[in-house]
């Protein structure tokens, strides 16, 4: 008889293999998740050290983001992020240096040239739309991008992300409605971490699963455990393929955890019970996924060290690079209000 352990490995292997994923794919996802986490943690350290005034980030959301982004064509497709999309924008092509340049608000920051707060990603080359702060506005943008893709027959689809609180905005509803009428190739992602700053889900909505709203637009809705990268990938893949086939949008709700305070301006101990803050550590997607990789024999100690050494170097490099980079010159501050004939 097969040992219990061996059977476990087989089950696990069949899980990612059934999804058409090999070990190297999983390692790539893990790498981005761990990179995002490491960058993210460094940002908090820098903020605590007084080197930057503000940080907002995605710790706890990495699994959901990795699962979704792995399901798209990262060169062809569009992504409309939000401020927690650290892992997602890295997968879409942004580099650790680019993220750190934005944290430090340096001239070279490709998202905004140091004009926006950190977390406001954007990059035309990587097809990441520029982000603003008002929650919810990005959802209609994604629909427009998808509509244009359809009219222009580019084959692109568009993925857009938001938090649970963001679903309360009128724009959220209007976007789902518009997209479903015109079968726009868009995947609506909600990263539901149960809080909007301090406001718990029960005060944000009267339902447990946001995905039930999909029915109200005649589109598929999925609720998936955001700590389970493969489960997210499976669901996202379905949604992406549906969009690609021209059948229209889907709504993908990933249940995630917010491991940090909302931002460096927040103190979550004030409104979250200690037990909760302890409990969520156990569903940290990075821990869960690492465990999976180990059990599946994809990652061992050596591999782990190799990946994390590389990440550490990248984060160090990015930090140093960005810290030393120059601030934007005030003389440039009046630029790009309007198109400039000889701009850039």
């Amino acid at each position: 008889m097969e040992s219990k352990e061996a059977r476990g490995v087989r089950e696990i292997e069949s899980r990612h293999q059934a999804l058409g994923l090999a070990g190297e794919h999983l390692l790539e996802m893990y790498y981005y998740m761990a990179l995002a986490r490491a960058l993210d943690e460094r940002m908090w350290v820098l903020q605590r050290a007084g080197k930057v005034p503000f940080v907002i980030s995605g710790q706890g959301h990495e699994g959901a983001q990795a699962g979704v982004m792995y399901a798209i064509d990262r060169d062809l497709d569009w992504f409309v992020p939000y401020y927690r999309s650290v892992c997602a924008v890295l997968m879409k092509g942004m580099t650790p240096r680019e993220l750190m340049l934005s944290l430090f608000a340096k001239a070279e920051d490709p998202s905004s040239g140091g004009r926006q707060m950190p977390g406001h990603y954007g990059h035309p080359r990587y097809k990441i739309l520029s982000t603003s702060s008002p929650v919810g506005t990005q959802y209609p943008h994604a629909v427009g991008i998808a509509y244009a893709a359809k009219v222009r027959k580019t084959g692109e689809i568009c993925v857009v992300s938001i938090g649970d609180g963001g679903t309360s905005q009128g724009d959220w509803h209007e976007a789902l409605n518009f997209a479903s009428i015109h079968r726009c190739p868009v995947v609506f992602v909600v990263e539901n971490n149960g809080y909007a700053i301090s406001v718990p889900q029960e005060l944000q909505m009267a339902v447990r699963d946001i995905a039930v709203r999909a029915q109200g637009y005649g589109i598929p809705g999925y609720t998936v455990d955001g700590s389970d990268v493969l489960a997210v990938y499976a669901v996202a893949k379905e949604a992406v393929e549906r969009a690609r086939r021209g059948e229209g949008p889907s709504l993908v709700e990933c249940k995630v955890v917010r491991l940090t305070a909302h931002s460096s301006d927040d103190r979550q101990e004030k409104y979250r019970p200690v037990e909760e803050l302890e409990a969520i550590r156990s569903v940290d997607p990075l821990v869960v996924f690492r465990h999976y990789l180990e059990r599946a024999g994809i990652m061992d100690e050596a591999k782990y060290t190799e990946i994390h050494t590389r990440i550490r170097e990248e984060v160090d490099d990015a930090t140093t690079y960005a810290e030393l980079a120059p601030y934007p010159d005030p003389l440039t501050a009046t630029r790009h209000v309007y198109f400039e004939e000889n701009g850039e």
Binding site: W78, V80, D109, P110, S111, S112, G113, R115, Q116, H120, G122, H123, P124, L129, S130, S132, S133, P134, T137, Y139, P140, H141, A142, V143, G144, I145, A146, Y147, A148, A149, V151, R152, T154, E156, C158, G170, D171, E174, A175, N177, F178, I181, H182, R335, H336, V337, Y338, F339, E340, G343, E344
Partner: protein
Amino acid sequence: MAELRLIDAINQALHEEMERDERVLVLGEDVGRKGGVFGATEGLYDRFGGERVIDTPLAESSIVGVAIGMAANGLLPVAEIQFADFIFPAMNQILSEAARMRYRSNGAFGCPLVIRAPYGGGVHGALYHSQSVEAFFAHIPGLKVVVPYHPGDAKGLLKASIRDPDPVLFFEHKKLYRMVRGEVPEGDYIVPLGKAAIRREGKDLSVFAYGLMLHEALVAAEEVAKEGIDAEVVDLRTLRPLDKETLLASVRKTNRALIVYEDNGFLGYGAELAAILAEEAFFDLDAPIMRVTGPEVPAVPYAPPLERWFMPDARRIAEAMRRLAQY
């Protein structure tokens, strides 16, 4: 050259631009089969089909928000807000998104988007179908704001707006749609944004206006001309960016300024004209800067006597001209 009405000129510009460039697309409530509640998009649906002439859901924020996304991915959307009064649900998308997409991305992304909106009173539209809302938008860096008066301008300005790489709000006065005719050149031409037009040259005083009020100002100017007052009438056409040179040059010539707008006075568009003149042409002025504006109430009331009471008109403008000329 054909004598067309404002509405025809706009319709023609839309037809020609959609024909010229397949990236141009029209969206809004009732713009398709119905051809728009004022007929501005008449014929577009039959010519270009539902994919490029979209009857949208009744939701202005998404009309603009979706258009912003379209613009980011290679299209040139022309969104219609059915009445300017209903633009406010889209305020956040216009101000926070369209107007600063370029600035916030340090020039990486643009937002080539036109938002057309019929505005203005005198059409029995009451509180919510009569508003002049240009002041809210002319304040916003990153936007351009256009208000045509002459049909020939309307066509050329709308074409310029559609080809402009930045978001343009294009306000069309409902009462002007079918009121006056003007020469509209056939075929393709552009009236550049950011340039005012002197509609009537004069030496005694300068009147600054746009939209329907420009018409009233012209009527008033002819009236006071009989009394020997020679008014210069300047059609601002583009409210943002303002053609400051023309504004200042005119006042430096006439030494008197009258500013006319239909909106309520307090912090309406003309307040900025007055502020600029009071700072930059102060020593050229021989008289107080005067304003003729709508009254300080929330909007145009419906009952005919109240609507008449609200609307600034040639009579009131002429009176102000006479007072101004007396200094």
